[in-house]
Amino acid sequence: MKTTPEPRSIHTLGRGQVRRLRFTVAAITAAWVLPASTLMFDLHWRVGFDVWKGLHLALFTTLFSLVAFGSTQALVGYWRRRRYGPADPVRLLNTLPVGGTERPLPAGASTALVMPICNEDPERVFLGLRAIYESLAAAGQVEHFEFFILSDSPDPNRWVEEEALWVRLTKELNARGRIFYRKRRVNTNKKAGNLADFCRRWGSRHRYMVVLDADSIMAGSSIVSLVHLMEANPRAGIIQTIPRLVRGETLFARLQQFASRLYGPVFAAGLNSWQLGHGNYWGHNAIIRTAPFIEHCSLPDLPGNEPFGGRILSHDYVEAALMRRGGWAVWLATDLPGSYEEGPANLIDYAKRDRRWLQGNLQHAWLLAARGLPGANRLHLLLGIMAYLASPLWLAFLVLSTVIVYRQTATGLSVIPRPSGLPFVELGFGAQGLLLFVGTLGLLFLPKLLALLDLRRDPAQWRAFGGGARLAGNIVLETLAFTLFAPVLMLFHTKFVLNVFAGHSVQWVTQRRGVDGEPEWREVILTHLGHTALGAAWLVLAWWIQPALALWLSPVLAGLLLSMPASLLSGKVDLGHRIRARGWLTVPEESSPPAVLARVDTLLADRSAAHIPQPPGLAENYGLLQAVLDPYVNAVHLSLLRTKKTAPANLDARFALLRERLLHEGPDVLNTTEKVSLLQHADSLVTLHRELWSRTEAQLAPWWRLAIRQYNVIPPPRRSPLRS
């Protein structure tokens, strides 16, 4: 038989070698799935096969295939890392030119760093951006980059604060003409529309753009490496990095970052081994070749309306597919360090994020059979859909299992299984069931074991994770925690899928991170009451049907019954801090923090130390207050507004009315839309600033009187006890 030799680098990757790599993954997955599903079929056949058991088998095979595919990727990834190490020929990083990040970038490799934001904490956003800028400056290549903050923040306070922080940042970094800020008036098509808007205005100024999320942090050397990789691979349209989760403060966030950091490398290597240049784009911490992106990646609308049709929400997968359709490669930069992001702080926020992603991924069903998309991208789209559809399927599998046992028990007859129909299987009925159960568990735990073995080969990293005993303890803790969380997420996802099918669309919710992300008792109780009640009812029912069924379902039922305390405790910042102080769930980025992360921490600590609480009573509309009252903030805001040449006369009258209400009655009488309208109207801002300062106190609302007194040199006299 003719064998295809291993490629020396991705540049010499032949079609046959690609096929062989993909066949390996498919064959190993099949090698797990076929025996398992056959055993399951035989198990049902031994006690009498019927349509419900057929359905049960179909669900088992689907769910087991997903688990097997994941484990296969980990297995292949582990094998490649062990066999080749950093010299893996399908590793994109091996195409980095000699000299790496030290090499100066070519003059034409102009790159935009774009950060779309929407109502995130502006201080955190700008501190992160500052750390990235400083890191690039330290790498000595900042002159090749321009930074764009692309705001879609609908909150007027956040908007004004962003503008002021942008001025402060450019001033402090002396980065005038290098860091830019744009706020869209209308948030058409959300994040994808924001990026497209950038591309239409300034995209052609730059050969590349690095897309960042509001919580992204990237080391300057990594960004420079990405540009070098693009230059070295002229057919690469997108290179996606693997962002590591960092700065987790709550137990939930720390569990996520520990798991993703430990298991990530083997999964990434396995994923890369089959997707190769048909990779995926995850929406941020990636570099994009601008010209083909502009040419091929503008998103069309899907048939129908939201939630299924209309605008594409999860744009990244589709953009990767469109880039591939245009003939450009999409690569995953496995092992490129220096790419970070933050994760949701608690289970409820995690579910909220999933709600948005779920709807976007379900929309991809339209594109599965679209003409011109490569097979690998169809698979990415399908896996994205299945990542969420797996939850209702799992629930259906568990319900069906309960029903099958009930139907059997309700007959009152003893189960007398016939001998196995499979050759070479001479197991008893119970032993066969146990084998299947243990096999499934083994497949679930295999990636953890492989990741541990992979880490063992790197003593420095092993120590950075806290060493053997601590690692083992952390894995047990992480496994227990996610065993409890998994059934809750199953119910969340199922509810979300039903919502989408019922036609309820999702709102674009700003994600909370850090201390602000702590869940509240009330929110926890309201969110998990249904889960707990369902868990209790299911436990009673399962116990009544057959105690063994309750035992088999116990991990799922425990997750549901404990959902309230698990959700609340895992979202506590104090608990996360205590766990970190004791050295548990430590990741290498904490034991020896990279310079860019250490800088972010320092900046945030400085901010906390210098934090001035906003005056009570004024905080709710502080941005509006500053934009109207403060001469400099007013100037910043006006300087960034687009002036309209003509405006209808009735519009002027409407704005005059709004201005009068704002000054005379205070900001509470206006709704957010009215406040934003005023902030978007340059003439109103000029007039408001002048009028506010020129009116006597009697002509102003008490709120403005209080606001203006912030600038008084001498406060009003204290009331004398001698006078009434």
Partner: protein, 215 residues
């Protein structure tokens, strides 16, 4: 008691506490002359606050300049104009004139108010109030280095536009998705058909439940 500066927290570098004085209750209506004196007192405080909002922090200069401006406002007050409005008009004119002396006139600009805003922003960017506290808003000649610093502090929110055409390319969703789309649209637009399908689905679910729970 002197309250510390209260600049916007996101533009300031040094922490400052803020007065949280409650609003005083309204006083009984004073006699006309007393009311006039109170009105000018209010105007004085307002102009002083306005200048302070521009970060004129030297107390002696602040008081002196406020006094000058209020004296001028008393002379040039227009009929029906409140002292506060007169004081602010004069103060605003003084600030505007000083900025024009530093960076040139904005009256020729297409949007003079916006041009003045940009100039005011340039003062902030060049740190004029902190770097030239003795010259800021003064009546003396402006140092050339101050003018140069302000003129070089102008900046834009974005670089020069270079428009690209980024139009969506149609995607052929394939026969299955197209058929599904047409069917979906058909069902959405026919309420009777929707009700019928819903009834059938409920009946099927009931049948399924009966089948499942039948021993």
């Amino acid at each position: 008691m002197i309250s510390p500066a209260s600049n916007p927290p996101f533009l300031i570098r040094s922490p400052a506490s803020r007065p949280s004085t409650p609003m005083p209750p309204p006083h009984p209506a004073p006699a006309p002359s007393e009311a006039e004196a109170d009105a000018w007192e209010e105007a004085f405080v307002r102009v002083e606050s306005y200048l302070r909002a521009h970060r004129l922090e030297r107390r002696a200069r602040l008081t002196r300049l406020t006094d000058q401006l209020i004296t001028q406002a008393r002379r040039e007050r227009r009929p029906l104009e409140t002292p506060v409005a007169a004081g602010l008009r004069i103060a605003d004119h003084h600030v505007g004139t000083w900025i024009e002396r530093a960076v040139g006139s904005a009256s020729e600009a297409q949007h003079p108010e916006l041009a003045r805003s940009r100039a005011r922003l340039a003062l902030e960017i060049a740190d004029v109030p902190e770097r030239w506290p003795e010259d800021f808003l003064g009546t003396e000649p402006i140092p050339p280095e101050l003018c140069a610093a302000v003129r070089s502090a102008y900046f834009a929110a974005g670089p020069e536009l270079r428009f690209s055409n980024m139009a969506p390319r149609p995607i052929d969703l394939g026969p299955v998705a197209n058929l599904a789309g047409q069917t979906w649209d058909g069902v959405r637009n026919r309420p009777r058909l929707r009700r019928l399908l819903l009834t059938l689905a409920l009946a099927a679910a009931a049948l399924l439940a009966w089948q499942l729970l039948r021993p």
